[in-house]
Amino acid sequence: MIKHFINLEWKAFTRSASFKVNLALKILMIIGAFFMILYALGLGVGAYYIIEEMVDPDPLKIINQFLIFYFIVDLVFKYFLQKMPIVNIKPLLYLPLKKNQVVRFGINKTMISFFNIWHAFFFIPFSIVLLIEGYSFINVLGWHLAMLALIYCNNFINIFVNSKDRVFYAVIGVLVTLGALLYFDIFDITQFTAPIFSAFYTLPYLAIIPLAIAYLLYTMAFKYFRKNFYLDAGLAKKVDIAETDNMTYLDRFGSVSTFLKNDIKLIKRNKRSKMTIFMSVLFIFYGLLFFTGSIEAYDGPFWRIFAGIFVSGGFLFSFGQFVPSWDSAYYPLLMSQNIRYKEYLESKWYLMVIATIFSTILASFYLYFGWQAYIAVVVGAIYNIGVNSHLVLWGGAYIKTPIDLTSAKKAFGDKKSFNVKTLLLTIPKLLLPMVIYAIGHFAYNEILGFALVAITGLAGLLFKNKVFSIIEKIYKSEKYKTLVAYKQTN
């Protein structure tokens, strides 16, 4: 029986859409995975010596202090990225299999997921280093087993939490608050949790407690799904309660409003597109790396423009590069309807412009780092609106990756989106403004540099219609290929 299950899993894995890439990309992916593992190994081995050197002679103490955050972050990652296997069980329901067997298989499957395994690459080398450095074997073993158990506790907690968004956001809230309190020295949660983690080392037999908890959570998860092992209970797809919104305030955009309303609904109502909002918020804070001077390599003056473009353009880049893929699920409809490409594009363009302006306003806290920092953001925004908005739409026209709106997977970059044409288009997106700024900056002063970038941005607006008609031509000439590509969703 197990043989069949494993066979099915293997086929699901090797035949998944993300594996249907050419050999070169497959090799790249394997190399990527290999380096990830290498980094984790390096971290596991190196963490001990780095902490010993730089922070404290007893690295285990420091590690124990931050483990609480480690496990919370782990839970967040699992929530976002780990897919629950329970749903795939459906086709097995009516087959002559024992329900217990199927449920146990579903839960066991989560245990061997990459999200649990990769911790081994940190904890095993770290534990070995501890032994080499003369920590006692029994104590290290106890600590190690406790960590293992806690990772699996997270795994089973995630199974419960996964279907309940509210629980998840509560966890995030707690995490942010604790982090902030720690940062401002108000309340240090680690003071309470660090002794618990150290206890697993000093009193190794305590490891039995997390092991017991993990086992308890396992049986709870098992009972939960065994009880709800019906199509209308545990296996039911979550149905959203629809909210209707006529968005009449958008009517002022005239004929574009038809598409604009749709695009806003698209972003609001789909998991995958909501991620773009999340990304754009992240990008707003990306500039901190540059303007706080925390990374030396970024100290050159033209890096300001680089930062400015990303701070204001997070949404522009993460949304714009996938136009028209956002509409891939119903592309045949659009292609057989009387749509005006110009209005279609214009709606996406307006959306990016609005988001860019909004990000720029939110980013006004950069004034704290001096007027140059914020001017860089504003100038970056002007360049984004004038030049980059056209370029991302142009680049997007060549991308034929269908987007599954309902899943948040693959939100962090998509291999297929990197082709030569889009790569070439990043030159004017990022390098050109940096060069323009550098010319002004070194020829006269920083004000001239900023002014030149802003002027380029404004000049870019003049080419809007030209670029739109080019994109329209691409859409038309690539129509059949695009339709075929979008069909291959799964």
């Binding site: 797809k237 149905v239 959203d240 309660i241 629809a242 909210e243 209707t244 038809t258 309303k261 749709n262 609904k265 698209l266 109502r269 789909n270 699920a329 119903y330 592309y331 045949p332 409809l333 292609m335 057989s336 309807q337 009387n338 749509i339 709106l405 309902t406 059949y480 339709l483 069909k487």
Partner: protein
């Protein structure tokens, strides 16, 4: 209204559709039947310019569909769920299609009011997105959306599949009315010989991409079709 000439579609030396000549006059209700892989959906996709013909062309009201887009304003279709926008409620979807076809909200509401029976209270005001409706209800929404904006040509691929008997009967009446009373050219494909003979004035049988029968519907048509497909079944049994 629709003229097909020398049309063929070939994938890797495998010809999936070959129609030398097929004229569908205005206001005809036209049925396409055939087994799986006969080329029904391929023909409809060519008609909507969703795939390119290998040879030949289709003219829709004298517009070459693979060269001009002028057929779009008077043609509408529901092929499959890729014609639905999953994250919209049915109402939002109807208004969106309406706006694309130059109809305001009141126009769309007036049209929808005629389909209260057809919807059977399961489409409108359900607080559900299209993606969460059942297959049958999705189909109902898609079919009605294809009627928005007074199109002159309506293409429906397998409209009867997944529908309950009551809705099937209502849909048959709707299609008949469109062709007879409003002069709309309706193209329907189906596996259900009974439904097609009930609805269509003319039935074309496709087999492996070729037109092998072109019948004017009369009381004997159903028998003839049944005999034809039954003989296909015995032939393939003999082959095995």
């Amino acid at each position: 209204m629709i003229n097909t000439s020398n049309l063929s579609k070939t994938y890797n030396n495998n010809t999936v559709l070959k129609i030398d000549n097929l004229d569908i006059p205005k206001g005809q209700s036209f049925g396409l039947v055939g087994n799986n892989g006969a080329g029904k959906t391929t023909y409809f996709s060519l008609l909507l310019d969703l795939i390119q013909p290998t040879t030949g062309h289709i003219k829709n009201n004298n517009v070459l569909v693979n060269e001009s887009e002028d057929w779009k304003p008077f043609t509408s279709a529901f092929i499959d769920e890729t014609f639905l926008i999953g994250y919209l409620t049915p109402e939002e979807y109807f208004y969106f299609i309406g706006e694309l076809r130059g109809q305001n909200k009141a126009d769309v509401d007036a049209l929808l009011a005629q389909f209260q029976d057809f919807f059977h209270g399961e489409i409108l005001k359900q607080k559900k997105y299209l993606r969460d409706l059942s297959k049958g209800n999705q189909k109902k929404a898609g079919i009605v959306a294809a009627l928005i904006g007074n199109p002159e040509v309506i293409i429906l691929d397998e409209p009867f599949a997944n529908l309950d008997p009551t809705t099937q009967i209502r849909l048959k009446q709707i299609i008949k009315d469109l062709a007879e009373k409003q002069g709309v050219t309706v193209l329907v494909s189906s596996h259900d010989l009974m439904h097609v003979t009930d609805v269509c004035e003319r039935i074309v049988v496709l087999e492996k991409g070729n037109v092998i029968k072109d019948l004017e519907t009369n009381p004997a048509t159903l028998k003839e079709l049944e005999a034809h497909f039954a003989s296909g079944a015995t032939v393939s049994q003999e082959e095995e």
